[in-house]
């Protein structure tokens, strides 16, 4: 895991060097291939220089001598060199592609696994579409730099220096004069260019992310958009995003469109300059015509890599903008749960204790206030309370998805902060309130791609939660694709599957957060019986609004506005005539006299 060091600030550009180092850390792994690619590229550039020499021989020696055999040999040699060039060129491009793709692969993997380890809080705040961009488009924006740019920059720079030295040897006066006439202009052009283009590219990356986020949300919520006749307004919003993107690309275009022709103008300008300057020198008899002609050809050789480099410079700037975005997400600290070293690894027994726990999602808005309780191993505890009272929050804390501000949470007597996170969560089976299924088939959604879990085992669990009835009716049974988020299933069916999924891993602590809210009472009855068997000897925490759901609980805790108000058995609570009693009365009364 490579982390981008140093604090990251969107506005300052002095971190360029750091970005480059960060990218280079990925290149380093590939340095061997990189070297090979550069050598091939240089070979590919040098070998053609030999060609005129060979052709020269044909014209200077064999043709005047009328040696047809010699001519044939020359043709053979030429063909040979070209064949070699063919392989060199092929391999060079191939290696460069492989290299670039390989680096992108490593990068993607790192970004992905880093993002997956960011705290839940991060996902609460950032749109999925935008986060996705970091792994998809932003990495893709590096492709050009990694695939050809990098190798090109290295080899063209080498070539540039080589040619410069060569030119200095040939005619240092002309060389220096040309350089003096053009380099300052070149540098000036590059500085202005960089200043303008980096801002624009950065903006482009942000816009792509915003378009992505907007698309993501619109696609996912399309039925709501349509039901509320929002199409026109959303179209407008998309148009304006798309239009800003367009305008930004046009700004980039104008900068680029000035810069590149400027470079080729410089090369022509240099030629004109040399002709004038050289001409004067010829008149002064300080230079021969042949020398001037040769020099003109060489100067072209000098500008070719320079032009290539200026192209790469643009690619480089675009890549920097993407790297900036990527590193800014790489800078987000991973969830602290992963940094526990030599954590307690259990096995999880199932005692859970809250000691004066205070918790807020933001700053000071306490969602849990001084909550204390202890759940013994093997106990089934129900949590009830009004909506928004903090029940799900308690679950979030037991799984350590957030860290508390005050107090202590002990699991098996060990502070939750000292637990090895995977040991803790592995044996903790949580059925979340918000069901989430994956787009695979039914079997994969239950086993979660774990090959070790056999179909028989899956069948058993499915029967356990009474989901076999509907699965058997699906067109391809366990192989039926259930689509994104399981949208080809009814909501209740989804809930059953997510229930089954949790049971598959035979958790030591079972936590059900409204796990049967969307399930009819007949099916629920089966599930309850199953859960009862499941939870025997295990700790279970059940949250439910339907009091019937919690009838098997040993103990009931009533949460009210973030405080634990009542706790005890059903009878104790009824006798107390407190909040629970009211809740119970209400539901019970409804059963007796419906249609009020």
């Amino acid at each position: 895991m490579r982390r981008f060091a140093g604090s990251f600030d969107e506005k300052k550009r002095k971190f360029d060097i750091k970005l480059v180092f960060w990218l280079l850390s990925y290149v380093k792994e590939m340095k061997l291939l990189m070297g090979v690619a550069v050598i091939f590229l240089l070979l590919g550039a040098m070998l053609p220089i030999a060609l005129p020499e060979v052709i020269q021989r044909a014209f200077d020696i064999y043709i005047p001598q009328g040696d047809i055999h010699g001519l044939f040999v020359i043709a053979g040699i030429l063909l040979g060199i070209n064949a070699a060039l063919f392989f060199i060129q092929y391999l060079q491009v191939y290696i460069m592609t492989f290299l670039g793709q390989r680096i992108m692969y490593n990068l993607r993997l790192d970004i992905f696994s880093h993002i997956m380890r960011l705290p839940k809080r991060f996902f609460d705040k950032n749109p999925i579409g935008r986060i996705m961009t970091r792994v998809t488009s932003d990495v893709e924006a590096l492709a050009e730099l990694l695939q050809s740019g990098l190798v090109l920059i290295i080899s063209e720079s080498i070539m540039l220096v080589g040619i410069l030295v060569f030119l200095l040897f040939k005619n240092w006066v002309l060389t220096l004069v040309t350089l003096l006439g053009t380099i300052p202009l070149l540098l000036l052009g590059m500085t202005v260019f960089r200043k303008k283009i980096t801002v624009i590219y950065r903006e482009m990356r942000s816009l792509v992310a915003r378009i992505n986020a907007f698309l993501q949300e619109s696609i996912v919520g399309m039925d709501i958009i349509q039901l509320f006749n929002r199409q026109k307004r959303d179209m407008k919003r998309f148009q304006s995003l798309n239009e800003s993107y367009y305008k930004t690309t046009i700004r980039a275009l104008i900068v680029n469109g000035t810069f590149f022709p400027f470079i080729s103008f410089l090369s022509i300008f240099a030629k004109a300059f040399i002709i004038w300057f050289g001409g004067v020198q010829i008149l002064k008899m300080q230079l021969t015509t042949g020398q001037l002609a040769a020099f003109l050809i060489f100067i072209e050789m000098f500008f070719k890599p320079l032009r290539e480099l200026s192209q790469s410079y643009n690619i480089f700037q675009a890549a920097m903008a993407a790297s900036e975005k990527i590193t800014s997400i790489m800078d987000e600290p991973e969830s602290v749960v992963y940094s526990v070293r030599n954590g307690f690894t259990g096995p999880l027994d199932g005692t859970i204790e809250f000691c004066n726990v205070w918790f807020a999602y933001d700053e000071e808005n306490w969602v849990l206030k001084d909550v204390s309780f202890k759940i013994e191993k093997g106990e089934t505890v129900a949590i009830v309370g009004q909506t928004g009272s903090g029940k799900t929050t308690i679950i979030n804390l037991i799984g350590r998805f957030y860290d508390i501000q005050k107090g202590k949470i002990l699991v098996d007597g060990v502070d939750i902060k000292e637990w090895d996170i995977s040991a803790l969560r592995r044996k903790m089976g949580i059925v979340l309130q918000d069901v989430f299924l994956f787009s695979g088939n039914v079997r994969e959604n239950i086993s979660l791609y774990n090959e070790e879990i056999s179909l028989d085992e899956i069948r058993e669990i499915v029967r356990f939660v009474n989901a076999d009835k509907f699965i058997d009716k699906l067109p391809e049974k366990y192989e039926t694709l259930i689509m994104e988020r399981g949208k080809a299933l009814s909501v209740g069916q989804r809930q059953l599957l997510s229930f089954a999924r949790t049971l598959t891993y035979r958790p030591a602590v079972l936590i059900l957060d409204e796990a049967t809210a969307n399930i009819d009472s007949e099916t629920e009855k089966y599930i309850q019986e199953a859960t009862l068997r499941m939870t025997e000897g295990r700790t279970a925490i059940i949250i439910a609004h339907r009091l019937a759901t919690i009838k098997h609980a040993h103990r009931i805790m009533v949460i009210h506005r973030g405080e634990l108000r009542e706790a005890g058995t059903h009878d104790e609570l009824i006798r107390r005539k407190g909040i629970y009693y009211d809740l119970y009365q209400l539901q019970y009364k409804d059963q007796e006299s419906p249609g009020a």
């Binding site: 039925d223 179209m235 004038w276 001409g279 979340l432 509907f470 209740g492 069916q493 099916t523 409804d590």
Partner: protein, 575 residues
């Protein structure tokens, strides 16, 4: 392709003209330099060099200007095309129904809207330039060569005919591989979209490592396809260079022999070779052109697969136009049968009516087709003609917007957008003032919660409303429907995450509102159905019972069983 350019003909042709002028100016420069050599032997004067230098500088300026122009015009055009295609894509998406979205992955659609359109944009800019360069420069050079020596030209061109095969061979492969690469990118995007959306679940299932491995294999696949594409591209470029080289060698050999035999002069051969050299760039440009073009075409196909998709649910050709928005709505379902595609029917012979002012409760096992029925009512799914009537008119005859304006729908899964609470609640009509919004929230029993939030109505919600509790989300969607205030209200299991106490408060506060509305409430809890005038029991897509609570209890059928079970459980719970 032309259909996209058509709109920007002017830009397109101007840019082609500029390109032509660039090529032309560039051809002129060697001529002037040639002139210098020619005159050098004679009298070179100070003035002559100055003028030649100035001429070249002038040409340089014009190359600069025309290069600038073609870029500005052509790339601008391609960016406009890009913008149009993306806009059109989104526009089309807005018209697709759940029949479409049920089959497509979000990540895939996103990949097409961003990544594929990028490739298309390249096709419309650099793709066009390469083709143009290849053709114009190629033809110009060919012209020079022909005017110089026909025989040599034929010799030179003969290997170039190989090019045709090369082009054909590579075109097909690059196209196919590009499709594969883009397809794998879609998979990557889908994977990432899914894993980031389900991040919380994955964490709770302790799957970070496994997902990383799965992601590795998905990106590995993408890498492999890319490398395969890269290899074929490498082969293409190398082959083209090699073909030109063969042509060069051939001319040297045959031409050399001719020189030896005194047929041609050495000078002519050298000059011809220099022309042949000018052929290199157009040939390489062909390689680029094939590459960019095929990638772009593959992407265009993928995008057109979407834009060309015919929406299943559309406005009718001769819509029924109500004079004014009806105040009340009578709903009638007649003998409705529905199935997804070829599958078994989800709903069979369902008949149901809801009169204005009536509240109908719908109960039934999971997967019995309740949500499907509701989606059919709101035309999120397609229903046959003469099956569902609003105020006596077939719903297929309404314009979609008119129809949906009649329905306030609370979906089973609460979906909220990542904007402020105000915008989410006043989603139908953003012009409503805070008072109206708060009133709706009060009815949904949320006003207290909102008032406690530091930012109140301006509180920003996370995507899907992640920073709310389950019940809060559900009530938010109820408030949203209340504000829409249509004559027909649908609650699809909308109280499942709400405690009975709150539920009672909400339904009581809604009673006056419902006075002349048609209301359909779907629920699993009998307690939720207590406000229904009539209750319908659905089982495996059929209506098995219908009547008031009392009637159904007396009938001792399915409803009675449900009632007893829930009651029994309550009793059990008490013991």
């Amino acid at each position: 392709m032309w259909k996209y350019i058509k709109k920007y003909k002017l830009l397109f042709f101007i840019s082609l003209l500029a390109l032509l002028l660039v090529d032309f100016s560039q051809l002129l420069i060697p001529r002037i330099i040639g002139q210098i050599y020619d005159t050098l032997g004679e009298e070179g004067s100070f003035r002559f060099f100055l003028i030649s230098g100035l001429k070249i500088a002038g040409l340089g300026l014009s190359v600069f200007a025309f290069r600038f122009f073609w870029r500005i015009f052509l790339i601008r055009m391609s960016r406009k095309v890009e913008r149009d295609i993306r806009e059109n894509l989104f526009y089309r998406l807005l018209t697709f129904s759940q029949h479409f979205f049920g089959k497509w992955n979000t990540g895939d659609l996103m990949a097409r809207a961003i990544n594929d359109i990028n490739h298309i944009q390249r096709m419309f800019s650099f793709g066009i330039v390469s083709i143009f360069d290849a053709v114009v420069m190629g033809l110009m050079t060919l012209g020079f060569m022909l005017s110089y020596d026909v025989k040599f030209t034929l010799i030179a061109v003969s290997p170039l005919s190989l090019l045709t095969f090369v082009v054909l061979y590579f075109e097909k492969r690059i196209h196919r591989l590009s499709l594969l690469v883009q397809n794998r990118f879609s998979r990557l995007s889908t994977f990432v979209q899914e894993d980031f959306s389900g991040n919380f679940v994955l964490k709770s299932l302790n799957r970070e490592e496994e997902e990383k491995n799965r992601f590795a294999s998905v990106s590995r696949d993408y890498l492999d396809k890319n490398v395969r594409l890269g290899r074929i591209q490498a082969l293409l470029h190398a082959s083209i260079t090699f073909i030109i080289a063969i042509s060069n060698v051939l001319v040297i050999y045959v031409g050399g022999k001719n020189v030896i035999n005194g047929i041609t002069s050495k000078g002519d051969l050298i000059a011809f070779l220099s022309y042949l050299n000018m052929m290199v760039w157009p040939m390489i440009a062909i390689g680029f052109a094939i590459n960019i073009h095929q990638r772009g075409r593959a992407s265009l196909e993928r995008v057109e697969e979407l834009t060309g998709y015919k929406p299943v649910i559309t406005d009718p050709p001769n819509p029924f136009l109500p004079e004014k928005k009806p105040e009340t709505l009578s709903v009638e379902v007649r003998d409705l049968t529905f199935s997804f595609g070829e599958g078994a029917p989800i709903l069979e012979n369902v008949s149901l009516s809801i009169a204005p002012g009536e509240t109908v409760g719908l109960i039934g096992r999971i997967g019995s087709g309740k949500s499907t029925l509701v989606k059919l009512l709101s035309r999120l799914l397609k229903t046959g003609d003469d099956t569902i009537f609003f105020n006596g008119v077939d719903i297929n005859r309404y314009k979609l917007n008119d129809l949906r304006a009649l329905i306030s729908y609370v979906p089973q899964e609460p979906f909220l957008f990542s904007t402020t609470i105000r915008e989410n609640v006043a989603y139908y009509d953003t012009s409503l003032d805070d008072e109206a919004v708060m009133e709706a929230l009060r009815k949904a029993d949320l006003s207290g919660t909102i008032e406690e939030m530091p930012a109140g109505l301006d509180t920003s919600l996370g995507e899907r409303g992640v920073n709310l509790s389950g019940g809060q989300k559900q009530r938010m969607t109820i408030a949203r429907a209340i504000l829409k205030d249509a004559p027909f209200f649908i609650f699809d299991d909308s109280f499942s995450s709400i405690d009975t106490d709150t539920e009672e408060r909400i339904l009581t506060s809604l009673a006056p509102l419902f006075e002349n509305k048609s209301v359909l409430i779907i629920a699993h809890r009998i307690s939720t159905l207590r406000y229904a005038d009539r209750i319908v029991v659905l089982d495996e897509g059929r209506i098995v019972e219908e009547g008031t609570h009392q009637e159904l209890l007396e009938a001792r059928g399915a409803y009675y069983d449900i009632f007893n079970r829930q009651k029994l459980e309550e009793k059990l719970g008490r013991e």
